[in-house]
Symmetry: C2
Subunit: 227 residues, 2 copies
């Protein structure tokens, strides 16, 4: 890849408090044998899959905090991905292969096309974000996503079913992250990502049609834009 | 359960053109061995899972058209479901158990709690919808979901990656279904369902706060409603 961030418009950072940090886990029992690796795998699906296409402008960071070797960062790069199918086992197989690499250090290495691994934590991801990147922490109590302005370069940070915890939340506050919500109901992290993608897709459509980035009632009908 | 429809506010009918209609398929290879059963399983997840909760007001119909015994209808009833976890294998296991039942006829039988099976087709589902049910066919070229009025009883009909085909589309048109879109991008069927749930959740929140059912910019901030 070129300079980090080139062509990337959407980043997600998913923190899994329990997902295992060693390879060779059982693909037959992702929830039980690998610390809710099933959740992580569904996030890979949500980040990248369109019907008959891949979201090439998207990057996904997985921060895995389970035993025996935390913290581990795995980076999925939409523009380079191959060998990924939508099912959980497919993502699990790529993650297992990455975790099975020898000598995982703070120097990032390529595991399979579009999949990179290193030792690293949330601060490494945040520090690597370019100037002008909007850092958005998705949490039920935040501002409603449909009503906020967002820039062109975005990173969305999401915790799993256990939540992020105070330390990470303080780190995000220090990095001037904004708290944003997709709705009042508490959703699975992979479902939140779908809602975020949809909101950004809608905004891009409206923006191309030179309409307000924040959708309003009847705008598209009035102007015969098929959303 | 009581009268059909009691307590149910959201129904989904997912048509799988290829998913197998016999039990005993391999849980290790859902995409390959069972006619894209993986897609069907992700729809079960999308229909029902909230973080730490189940959507009890939701019903999911799966219409399976693969060999050797199509058409088969499987009904998942949110208010009665047990033994369902979010991972694909869990849904696959319940579906395999239902398909493995002896003597599947047009008379619906209970397989496991909240999971029913019968021989049947789309017309059976549509005919069983109560008066005043809005039938909504989700398709890219439809009206934008954020801008339409919807009633209290809704059934959303979705095709898989192969599309519905002319015959089913004609049946839907005859039933006065409305064509509705969640956005211009072509999404996986399970992802569409997430966007639909989110839209309905938002509307319910706004409606409880006695705000317009069609969200407008700044409404919630002005009135200090946490969406």
């Amino acid at each position: 890849m070129g300079v980090r961030g080139e062509g990337v418009r959407r980043e997600f950072l998913v923190v899994s408090s329990t997902a295992t940090t060693t390879g060779g886990f059982s693909l037959k029992d992702l929830p039980g044998s690998a610390g809710r690796m099933d959740i992580v795998c569904r996030c890979v699906n949500s980040a990248f899959f369109l019907s008959h296409d891949i979201r090439r402008d998207t990057r996904l960071w997985l921060l895995l905090l389970g035993e025996p070797n935390p913290p581990i960062l795995i980076r999925f790069e939409g523009s380079e991905l191959r060998y990924l199918s939508p099912d959980e086992r497919s993502a699990a197989s790529l993650i297992s292969k990455a975790l099975g690499r020898q000598n995982i250090t703070e120097h990032e290495i390529l595991s399979t096309p579009g999949v990179y691994i290193r030792k690293g934590d949330m601060k490494d991801v945040l520090e690597g974000c370019g100037d002008g990147t909007d850092i958005i922490y998705l949490v039920e109590t935040g501002e409603w996503i449909r009503e906020i302005e967002m820039g062109d370069k975005l990173i969305f940070v999401l915790g799993d079913h256990m939540g992020l915890g105070e330390e990470y939340e303080r780190l995000l506050a220090d990095a001037c992250a904004r708290n944003v919500s997709v709705g009042q109901k508490s959703l699975h992290v992979d479902h939140c990502m779908i809602v975020v993608h949809n909101e950004l897709d809608i905004r891009r459509t409206l923006s191309k049609a030179k309409l307000s980035p924040v959708p309003r009632n009847s705008v598209s009908q009035d102007l015969k834009v098929e959303i």
